[in-house]
């Protein structure tokens, strides 16, 4: 198979798995924690950011894991991309705003941005450490 179709196949598979995993997390979040605050979306976005940071470090040029381009795209653009979502986050934020819950909306946006970046940073640090070289 030519590289193009193989990449798209890997991304489609990863995207399907990531989206189903996100949907199951959302159902579990509602069942366990209720619908008042979008804990599930926050959780998947932080976890997906951590995972992409970790995997990118482990499979990068200096990484200890070997991954083909199809595997890398399948995990990063496919699974992590499908698992995390900016659109649902945006919708949840404006629904809080439109319900008049300004503080909750603002808190959701601020905590999200901070924890997404912290997740990617932690994943990268852990990956660099597992690669066995000093972190920058």
């Amino acid at each position: 198979m030519a590289p193009g179709p193989r990449l798209y196949l890997a991304i489609a598979l990863g995207g399907a798995l990531g989206s189903v995993a996100r949907h199951l997390c959302a159902l579990a979040g509602i069942a366990l924690l209720g619908p008042a605050f979008p804990f599930a979306t926050l959780g998947v976005n932080v976890a997906g950011s951590f995972l992409i940071g970790l995997y990118a470090a482990l499979t990068g040029p200096d990484g200890r894991l070997f991954a083909t381009p199809a595997m890398r795209h399948g995990v990063m653009a496919g699974f992590c991309g499908g698992f995390t979502t900016f659109s649902v986050f945006s919708l949840e934020s404006i629904r809080l705003l439109e319900a008049g819950q300004w503080a909750l909306a603002l808190g959701y946006v601020a905590v999200s941005a901070a924890t997404w970046l912290a997740g990617a940073w932690l994943g990268d640090r852990l990956g660099q450490r597992m690669n066995g070289r000093p972190t920058g």
Binding site: S19, L51, M76, G82, F83, S87, F89, S93
Partner: protein, 130 residues
């Protein structure tokens, strides 16, 4: 079970659309700033606002539209937009010493996506006469 199949199908389509479009944009505009991810996220936010106006009530998805919602919103749009690439690209800008560009990416993505979702939602309400 049909719900999971629809989410999987939509998720596969959304991820491929994101990869294709962000690649096209990155090749046109260069890779010094993650324009591709920004465009994908802002356009997806506008679409989700529009669809929410059509299918979402205060108490949840409108009766009879659950499958449509799972395919179009949870599947396609959920997967089309991405936080993980946004986080990784922001981190890469920071590691490259591009603190200014990283800050613009964070503020720009949050501001434009929320504005796009609001605008899409308002437009959808107008269109549906709400």
């Amino acid at each position: 079970m049909i719900g999971l199949v629809l989410v999987a199908l939509g998720g596969a389509l959304g991820a491929c659309a994101r990869f294709w479009l962000s690649g096209v944009i990155a090749r046109r505009l260069g890779e010094r700033f993650p324009w591709g991810t920004l465009v994908v996220n802002v356009s997806g936010a506008a679409m989700i606002g529009l669809l929410a106006a059509a299918f979402l009530h205060a108490e949840g998805v409108a009766e009879g539209w659950r499958e449509t919602w799972l395919l179009l919103v949870i599947g396609i749009l959920g997967s089309y937009t991405t936080v993980s690439s946004f986080s990784l690209q922001t981190l890469a800008l920071l590691h490259a010493g591009e603190g200014g560009r990283a800050a613009w990416n964070v503020m720009g993505s949050l501001g434009l996506c929320l504005a796009a979702a609001l605008a899409g939602h308002r437009a959808g309400l107008l269109l549906s006469g709400g």
